[in-house]
Amino acid sequence: MTEGAPERCANSERGLCVSESIEDLDEAPPAAETLPLDAWHRARGGRMVEFAGYWMPVQYEGIIAEHLWTREHAGLFDVSHMGQLVLSGEGLDAALEAVLPIDLSTLRLGQQRYSFLLDEDGGVLDDLMVQRWPEAVYLVVNGATKWDDMAHLREALPDAINLNYLDEHALFALQGPEAAAVLERHATGEHPLSALRFMRFGVFELAGVPVTISRSGYTGEDGFEISLPGDAAEQIAELLGAEPEVKPIGLGARDSLRLEAGLPLYGHDLSPETSPVEAGLGFGINKRRRAEGGFPGADRILAELASGTARKCVGLALDGRQAAREGAPVFSGNKLVGIVTSGGFSPSLERPIAAAYVAGAHVAHGTVLEIEVRGKRLTATVTALPFIPHRYCR
């Protein structure tokens, strides 16, 4: 899934950036809300910042340490700001297929799939996960977009479809090579947790608490996402956090992990100005839908699938240690050929990496380009995504 952008500096024009609000200071934002695990994060030394309208931990001991811990052991992420929606009602599949390019006829109970909400021009309004529940479909959408998503869905779906926002549910992710061993110690259910493969989910209990666990995540590692009642959030965080393999991980490392894994971040690498094909997410346009169309922006997207796009989202590995950030222009010689949409230092590769939209003539792996950062040109090489191989349990 998407998200986890660390703060941009609200006061970076003057002075060292020590503010971590992403809010525009000129417009007083509505006060951020607290999530069920707020006190637990603070007690664990989490540095809390406003993100997507909530107080969220950006880091505990430090982004690099948390990032590397997750790659080697298991990291516990609180992503309760994300929107958990349950849709049900007569004609649900047909109604949802009118707004998502998904083929729901092949999504069986217990399966999860990645999809997007598209606007009429094929621009991405959000990216999301879809689970087939008995008599229902469950969606996980981004925190920053969830209110717009709900308005869009309510508008687009017939009245017969019920839209239920699980606002009293928390969402955790347990990610890393030791996540499965940790969770197997505690999860009980109809099937053993080990039977769950990548992009499958099931209903389990953790210490007697009913939870839905999917084998998925946003780090490129094996791992799980756990939907649970908000009033049990602290109990479950204590339970998992007490395991020696587990440390709490903040939004900062969530962002660096997903960037290494080549996973897009909504609002940065994906937006209404980008199509899923440009983003390299054509796999999210399911086969039957490619043949039949009938989803928002189908004309543009099917044309792009057939004849390619003028630009593509690529990975860039930078020489040196200076990072390029979102918005940095990309050049081939004197020619402007692209723009960085995400960038930062990769703790695993110990070098800066970026995602950028680059004109089609310059997207071959190994192409050497330059990124302009603060008046300097940094050398960058187009690199296959992901930067770090995925280690999903398929």
């Binding site: 703060e7 003057r14 060292l16 982004i63 990072a323 603060r374």
Partner: protein, 123 residues
């Protein structure tokens, strides 16, 4: 030698007309893991309030503003290979650049250590 502090979380240690500039422990803590320091050119003139130096953390790039006007006479070359010194030793070994002061009167208006500590406490 006297050390002064800015509201932007730089420190400057002044010895005669020579000032050594870095960022405070509070600042490094807020920025998090520092991965790169873009240092100024030796010999370059710098104006008070200009940003001759940039500190890159995993999260973001942040300007470091010069507390005084003058000329850059040295930079901390060890940071090229060990930018994390700014995290581990921000107020001594993690210094950033040295500047000759063209107008020592600019130091008035900066905070002393006690005033800075009180300032940070209120943030």
């Amino acid at each position: 030698m006297t050390t002064y502090y800015t509201q932007d979380h730089e420190w400057i240690e002044v010895d005669g007309d020579l000032g050594t500039v870095g960022i405070t422990d509070y600042a490094q803590g807020q920025l998090g893991d520092i991965t790169y320091v873009d240092l100024p050119e030796v010999g370059a003139p710098v104006a008070k309030g200009a940003a001759p130096c940039v500190v890159d953390s995993v999260k973001a790039a942040s300007d470091v503003f010069s507390p005084v006007s003058g000329t850059i006479v040295a930079v901390n070359e060890t940071l090229a290979d060990a930018p994390e010194l700014v995290n581990t030793d921000p107020e001594t070994g993690g210094w950033l650049f040295r500047v000759t002061l063209s107008d020592p009167a600019e130091l008035t208006g900066l905070m002393d250590k006690a005033a800075y500590e009180a300032f940070v406490k209120d943030l």
